[in-house]
Assembly symmetry: C2
Homo-oligomer: 194 residues x 2
DNA sequence: GAAATAAATCAACAGTGTGTTCAAATATCG
DNA sequence: CGATATTTGAACACACTGTTGATTTATTTC
């Protein structure tokens, strides 16, 4: 059952590289199987042996990356006896992203799949919600929903800008910014280091 | 030079209707010219007389809608002698959107063009920035950029949820929620009506 | 209203990517 | 080495594309 065969792993790696390469230059809808295979240097039939079409490839790659991401994030969320602070969680997620730039291309780049970005962000969300819902037990669930809709989209927007600017700021800095905005709104500007 | 011909307007309207219809059910990349024309009840050659492909159609429709939107927003921004409050601007934008649901399909629906949504939001942004940058003159421009990246994406996320939930809340309510989050972050939950 | 003009239709066309099939060649694993 | 699994290459029908030219239909102008 295990994927031992060396040839398959090489093929899939070639496809993955070619795909992220193309995706950094053009939207997924204008990537054809033909050109992908030409770039990867494999036969078109081989592609169809593993994937049904380009979108199936995207899906499978995203699932794979989600697992990697989850694995990388897991120790942060469940290792220590202490519950991590929201800031630590956010910083951890951002650090994971910075260490996996090819994921960022697939999600945060100009032709990225923003839905997938949203799913990645939400991996850490449960812990996040838990931390905050205790603090704001008076709020209606509807308002909480709106709040999360806002801030999860906001974080993605923040990350897009981060990537667009070359990811020069550290993950911790960016996490602090995100936390500041989420906690204090515009007022974070007066106390950025909070 | 004016587009007087009745036939052209009918054709374009049929195409527009068919396009937004299809876009509410499937992503743009799987909409073919053929099926669009079949649904619109026009000849395929007629489509090519006006647009080069589906993406050209999308672009032209978005430009058109941007003008409509701008026109609808203009009186709000420049009519009175008093400068409108940020809340009023936000509420005005949201009201525009609610009154133009087919724009929302093209932007905020599951298969919408989020880039376009972003552009629409930013139409009101200049006034918005002006109002706030006076209040927070001490902040660095970098932080302001991050803040705007966050909140403009956040607003889109909020609007997506609004649309997904059937746009039941009033535009004013939603604008107040957006304002609350943008101004006070998570604390808006304790003072939602602020 | 009639003539001139413009637009939409229809059919046909080559071109390109798709998804599948098969036998042949090649690499991997036991 | 031999059995097995994967990749290759070629061929195939199929569908959509984008364009063309002749024809029909609608609109504008005089």
């Amino acid at each position: 059952m295990k994927q031992t065969d060396h040839r398959i792993r090489v093929t899939k790696m070639l496809i993955r590289r070619a795909f992220t390469d193309l995706l950094s230059r053009k939207p997924i809808q204008s990537i054809s199987v033909k050109e992908l295979c030409a770039l990867a240097g494999i036969n078109r039939g081989t592609f169809y042996a593993h994937y049904t079409d380009i979108y199936d490839l995207q899906e499978k790659l995203e699932d794979e990356m989600t697992l990697d991401f989850q694995k990388a994030l897991d120790p942060l969320l469940h290792s220590g006896k202490e519950k991590p602070t929201p800031l630590a969680i956010t910083a951890g997620i951002f650090k994971c992203l910075k260490e996996n730039m090819d994921i960022c291309t697939m999600t945060l780049g100009p032709y990225g799949d923003k839905e997938f970005a949203s799913r990645l962000i939400n991996l850490g969300r449960e812990s996040y919600i838990e931390s905050y819902s205790r603090l704001f037990s008076g709020a209606t669930s509807r308002q909480l929903e709106y709040y999360y809709a806002f801030v999860s989209a906001g974080c993605i927007g923040l990350l897009e800008k981060w990537l667009a600017d070359g990811m020069t700021d550290s993950a911790e800095e960016l996490a602090a910014t995100a936390e500041g905005i989420m906690s204090h709104g515009i007022r974070f500007l007066k106390a950025p280091a909070l």
